[in-house]
Symmetry: D2
Subunit: 304 residues, 4 copies
């Protein structure tokens, strides 16, 4: 399997410790890796470090951008870069024909460029495999925040998990395992049946104000305004809210502040609390994606 990426040119543009682990894996599997936005000494032997996005992109067959992607102006998130990394149309135009771009999620301009230059764009942050694996460090990071911010234990506490998708399931399982009494709030009766099977209490959104009244810690995973002031006003003053939904979260933080409630927005936990684990996820999933993609490409070339 290690030789399948042999000779393929991959550019890694910015990122953090996770990309360092990914680069090492790609090198190990035989790819020719060019990285930008990292100091030479941090990058795995066998990878090339260049100084500009343009240089990295030129003729590359695969372009890997970090999970948090770029901002609206094209600046790539790159914690180790000494100067801003700017993604430009010129750079994108210079990649190899039919190249593959892998990114957490793409802004509008990147989607347009991909269409214009006929590149395959893969947005991976919402892929089940990555999202579920990342839910593990997310749940542990949320737990760490809860432990740091409360003066009691998780064991014996009453907690509430809002939303029962990829993060919510892991969060509920983890809290339950530590001995908390967990209430899951969700709309879908199938999800609530699963919550029950896992030993959690079940509730609907109509029960939320009641729940806020007697819960110690609330973990929100739903990226909509679920904890607005009409709900928060019922919260017991000691409650801790940990909001795990993508920015701007699902809590009215201003209202929480007005009511004197402690509410913490905690997005992007995997890269913060467990970069090594999160890096291994990328190092595990991205090569599989590439192999599958190139295998299909070969088929197309052969039979197409």
């Amino acid at each position: 399997m290690s030789s399948v990426l042999s000779g393929i040119k991959i550019a890694v543009l910015g990122g953090d410790d996770r990309e360092l682990i990914l680069v090492a894996e790609l090198v190990k599997r035989g790819a020719t890796v060019v990285a930008v936005g990292f100091p030479r000494e941090k990058i795995s032997h066998g990878a090339f470090v260049v100084n500009s996005v343009e240089e990295a992109c030129k003729d590359t067959e695969v372009l890997i951008l970090p999970l948090p992607g770029t901002n609206e102006k094209g600046v790539i998130r790159a914690v180790y870069a000494e100067q801003e990394l700017q993604l430009t149309e010129k750079a994108i135009a210079s990649v190899s024909r039919n190249a593959l771009i892998i990114i957490g999620s793409a802004r509008k301009y990147l989607k347009e460029w991909a269409t214009k230059y006929d590149l395959t764009l893969m947005e991976i942050v919402e892929m089940d495999e990555i999202a579920i694996l990342n839910s593990i460090p997310t749940a542990e990071g949320a737990l760490q925040i809860a432990m740091e911010e409360t003066s009691s234990t998780i064991h014996g506490s009453k907690t509430c998990v809002i939303g029962f998708g990829r993060v919510g399931i892991t969060m509920a399982r983890t809290l339950k395992a530590l001995g908390s009494e967990v209430t899951v709030v969700a709309r879908n009766s199938g999800q609530l049946a699963r919550a029950y099977e896992m030993g959690c209490n079940r509730a609907g959104y109509e029960d939320l104000h009641e729940i806020m009244n007697h819960t110690n810690i609330v973990f929100n995973t739903v990226p909509c305004m679920v904890l607005d002031s009409s709900i928060l006003k019922y919260a017991n003053p000691e409650v801790l809210i940990v909001d795990l939904a993508t920015q701007p979260g699902g809590t009215d933080f201003e209202a929480a502040n007005t009511f004197g409630l402690k509410a913490i927005l905690a997005p992007g936990l995997p890269g913060k609390v467990a970069p090594v684990f999160a890096g291994k996820i990328l190092a595990d999933v991205i090569p599989k994606l590439l192999i599958k993609e190139f295998a299909e490409l070969d088929k197309d070339l052969l039979y197409g």
Copy 2:
């Protein structure tokens, strides 16, 4: 809530202990319940027992058939009936206008009659809520079979769960909780990520022959021929196969027999091992369905 079903006429045709619990609940909520296929003394006070399917169906607004439904000739499964209960077109034709038929899953003729007489047919066996709740007694029943048929413990055993849907997830969680080393076999990488998060080993179907070689107990939940002779020939002679998929299961039982392997087809466990629990599921879910259905009907009548 109890009064919402008040005055609605519901016919319950056959079934087993589960329907007895359902009938009691429907009576409690104010419905007028007519049952056929049960002895008078088993049926809850307040429900009527009649002697024929036709009598029960006449002018009824809701018709409830058991989860296992009818056979190809229209015979309704009814363990307490002294004589065969036959579902006829004449009976169906006599129900109230716009009536609702609830059944596990419907045969072709029943679907045609529903269309012909403009009745709403709800097949509930595949509803997430019912299927997930039923996965609990299914997993415990499978465990009971495994305990009865092996001479070692689940704790410390190597087990394999094929398929990671509604039953597979519960089965894996249960085995893991008892201290087994569980390997989940599935195709979907998101499902495998979840299995990993739950502490299970992950494998693909291509690993199945290898797994059969060193596993103590295999639980199949996939209703396709997954354990055919090409796989079974690799099985260790001591393996136990418990097949939970809908009849005819996913095992080549003849081949298993030829190889001297112990393989057990165990469909319909909830009604067998935990009729009270399974009855409570019906008593919990069906009234909610009815209330929702009639509420929508009212809306249609008001605004339609």
Copy 3:
């Protein structure tokens, strides 16, 4: 390690499938094993099968009797023996000087013979290691009984474990893992603190009549009369009592019968429900005991 038992003569007198596994292990480790009470074809190659207890005992350095031991008249429990195996003083008198006798627990006459002939007697049924490992098949066997005898699931049930020693801890953990709400009844506040840490409810014996009233399944592990008629009269009529304490158990079975309660005495589960697992325990622990014993003997001989 395998050679340490090399050349040591060991007699295995009766027993069941567990002893077959033990014999195989002892042979593997180099001992000279003589067995009585088993058909030739069941006994591992390399062991000798003889026809009488006397023949087996003669000059043996180690004598292994089954965990259930002998009855008051000296009859050894031997499920495969074609005729009764009788342990006689004559046989005991013929063993090697300083020989070691291993048995579950010894009757008075055997203790006297051991003293008289200066033999070392080890009663192993109460050894922590064996008792705790055996608690695993005991708990699973109790679970199997509970599953077979009830018509609901363990998940979601209210269960009670009386006594929180070696079996009680395992029983509580197992029930909790399956999703039951478990109440532990014990006297010792340290044990109750541990039960709380494991997520169980805590209660004292003074709460027992109240508990009996709303519990689905009660598992007793205390070998005293704890469930007498003064308690049983408060039991809800649907309760199931599984008594795991050594015969005669801790339940007044006659009173239970009078009150119409289902109560099952289930001693010796490991050998019944999981003989292979239970045999492996013996095959794991007894060689370690022998090695330790002979190592000390050697020391005594050298330095004594």
Copy 4:
């Protein structure tokens, strides 16, 4: 029950947030509580705040000192005190006849004073109930440290728990629940059997150097030098050691430092990470102790 402590005079000398919760409970149960070493506004209504240890001790029937007790010179741990609280013989001499002194563990001089003045001294830090309940915040605090100090997750990590007593059991259960692969190191074969039952790997101290080589996080609970340089030299450079044993712990921290290993001594976690929970333990256990003690005293007075 609340009236049993009615009128009894209790002095609380120093401590932290835990004692605040305890004071509130004692007041609620009717005791006359005098506290020293706390600001007036933090102390529950109904309790008296005095300015000196002497004043608090005079004629008191119960004297409560904090779990961490006093230092060698008699200085009482009192985080809210504005000036040092000094326990003097004069103060002890002024308490009521037959008074009860409750403290975590007592220094030599306090034991001597108790004997000299005929006072009952209860050292509670080693009481099973308190130690086991405190093991819950200890394990969560240790987890929090581990999460903060590592860049991977607990899920999927290899961890080792040295010692399997009151803290070790809870630590192992907690790690296992979070999805770690846990190895328990202990000497006692019964403890190792229990670790196995809980799903952990078992090892002896002779395996420790090997374990250090491939483990991510080691939690020591044994208050002896178990991780000395002869063991630490085998540790993988990335290992994290969290030492939970009473000061000075069981790790050679100097050697760890020399080898470049990260080792953290973390005693007294309950009061630090979960003072509310730890306070509730005192508020739960100490009144029960007092009630029992005074009940026995009454008996002695009646029948003595």
